[in-house]
Amino acid sequence: MRDGPARYSEKVMEHFKNPRNVGEIENPDGVGQVGNPVCGDIMELYIRVKDGIITEAKFKTFGCGAAIATSSMVTEMVKGKSIEEALKISNRAVAEALGGLPSVKMHCSVLAEEALKSALEDYLSKSKR
């Protein structure tokens, strides 16, 4: 209990304290940006794709503890996955991987899913060109 508010799981706090994959990718193969300042959460998600497999993922996030933790988690989850597999990652999966989220924070996992989808779509539309 001493290392985080009761409502966040240890896993959330762990990712919040040591977020993985913070930063940007230069010339990424896909970028997603979701959220807006009005509602208090903005996520940017960058991916690098090689032979249909996501080899790298990074994020920048303005938002609460859950927003940062879900960003971190989703970038971890997506690495090594095919585009198809990545498209199947749901917000619930992200939340579950974090040991659950308080109900008022579930929207952060939705944002993470949307950021990922948006990056994947960006990649797909670019690769179609």
């Binding site: 290392d3 985080g4 508010p5 966040y8 706090m13 919040f16 304290k17 977020p19 913070v22 930063g23 940007e24 940006q33 300042p37 009005v38 509602c39 208090g40 959460d41 903005i42 996520m43 940017e44 994020f59 920048k60 996030t61 303005f62 938002g63 609460c64 503890g65 859950a66 927003a67 940062i68 008022v104 929207h107």
Partner: protein, 392 residues
């Protein structure tokens, strides 16, 4: 690492003297003040003695103070009690857009279910209510004006005495939520010119779950809690004797220490504000530069969100508060910060530090240092910060 508690506007620890004063009333002198045997009457005498003390502190008479179950109940009692007792005179209430939820939600209830119309006055960029606006808002249906003495989020102190002139001129009742001021800065009901005033014990080193409502003699008010004859028929329910004694002890201590303590806190406050503004770019003070509570610091830190700062501070054992949406279940940022006209990012990036009895200059300096570190780290992962650098 020692905890640094900088959230005294949320609650304060009961002073050890307060606890000591309360203790006998739990087990030894536990009588019910409504009982007629001496044992109960002893409790009654104790309650009446401390009622005089509480009343004296705000310049009121004993019989003008009613004990309640907290500040929220006092606000509910004031607004609903006055509304109900005076609805034959009119159905209009004036308040501000930065009141505590205890006032705002009660007003909304009166609008929804009581047939009342409520005017929520705007405030300026510092959180000040314009007395002229109050005057203009008064109609012949207005029965009550409720303007808080000082705001709990941004610490802005309202010109209550100026407002009360217009309210009194119009012959209207005036309530002020003084939960954040009583015990911290001087409060006198005659000088402020108010008819009703809410107090909460746990904001001034008293116990949680006790408060008081001052009701000027001669004011028609309906009871809020119905039942027995306690508090001369105005507030039913067995008196919380230990709690009431605790509130009074807290007030006694405040009477002795408030003057010096306010000066000390104002110094710490200014040290903290200066430290933050000097050590961090893109930080803004929210609220009024000097018409503010001696213990209140409220800043907006651009490009980072409040809860994430709070959590990081918490990890370093520093307790603060934020007006960010993320800290509420409504997902809306603080209504107070919005009323100031802050853009949403700044409302989301707000931090409140409220100082208290045990805080020191060293702690303040440490907080500045720790927060600078946290903000640098969080900005490094903020897409807004990047964009801002690009934009420059």
């Amino acid at each position: 690492m020692k905890r640094i508690f900088l959230d005294h506007a949320a609650t304060t620890p009961a002073h050890p003297e307060v606890v000591k004063a309360m203790l006998p009333y739990f087990t030894g002198a536990f009588g019910n003040p409504s009982s007629i045997y001496s044992y109960g009457q002893e409790a009654k005498v104790a309650v009446e003695k401390v009622r005089a003390k509480v009343a004296g502190f705000i310049g009121a008479k004993s019989e003008e103070v009613i004990f309640t179950g907290g500040g929220t109940e006092a606000d509910n009692f004031a607004l609903k009690g006055i509304a109900l007792a005076n609805e034959h005179k009119g159905n209009h209430i004036i308040t501000t857009s930065i009141e505590h939820h205890a006032v705002i939600e009660t007003c909304k209830f009166l609008e929804r279910r009581g047939g009342f119309k409520v005017t929520y006055l705007p405030v300026d960029g510092y959180g000040l209510v314009d007395p002229q606006e109050v005057k203009k808002a008064i109609t012949n249906k207005t029965i009550l004006v409720s303007v808080m003495n000082a705001n709990n989020e941004i610490g802005t102190i309202q010109p209550i005495d100026e407002i009360s002139k217009y309210v009194k001129e119009a012959g209207i009742l005036f309530h002020t939520d003084a939960v954040q001021t009583v015990g911290h800065i001087p409060v006198n009901v005659d000088e402020l010119g108010i008819d009703l005033l809410s107090i909460s014990a746990h904001k001034l080193y008293g116990p949680k779950g006790v408060g008081a409502l001052y009701i000027r003699k001669g004011t028609r008010i309906s009871p809020f809690v119905h039942g027995g004859e306690q508090e001369r028929g105005r507030r039913a329910g067995t008196e919380n004797v230990p709690g009431i004694v605790g509130l009074s002890k807290a007030i006694e201590l405040a009477r002795q220490e408030m003057g010096e303590e306010a000066k000390r806190l104002a110094c710490l406050r200014d040290r903290l504000i200066q430290g933050l503004l000097e050590n961090l770019d893109h930080v803004h003070l929210n609220g009024h530069p000097f018409r503010r509570l001696p213990n209140n610091v409220n800043v907006s830190v651009d490009f980072v969100e409040g809860e994430s700062m709070l959590l990081n501070l918490d990890l370093e054992n520093i307790c603060a508060s934020t007006g960010s949406a993320c800290s509420s279940s409504s997902l809306e940022p603080s209504h107070v910060l919005r009323a100031l006209g802050l853009p949403p990012e700044q409302a989301h990036g707000s931090l409140r530090f409220t100082l208290g009895r045990e805080n020191t200059a060293d702690e303040v300096d440490l907080v500045v240092e720790v927060l600078s570190r946290i903000v640098t780290r969080l900005r490094a992962m903020s897409p807004l910060f990047k964009n801002s650098r690009v934009a420059k």
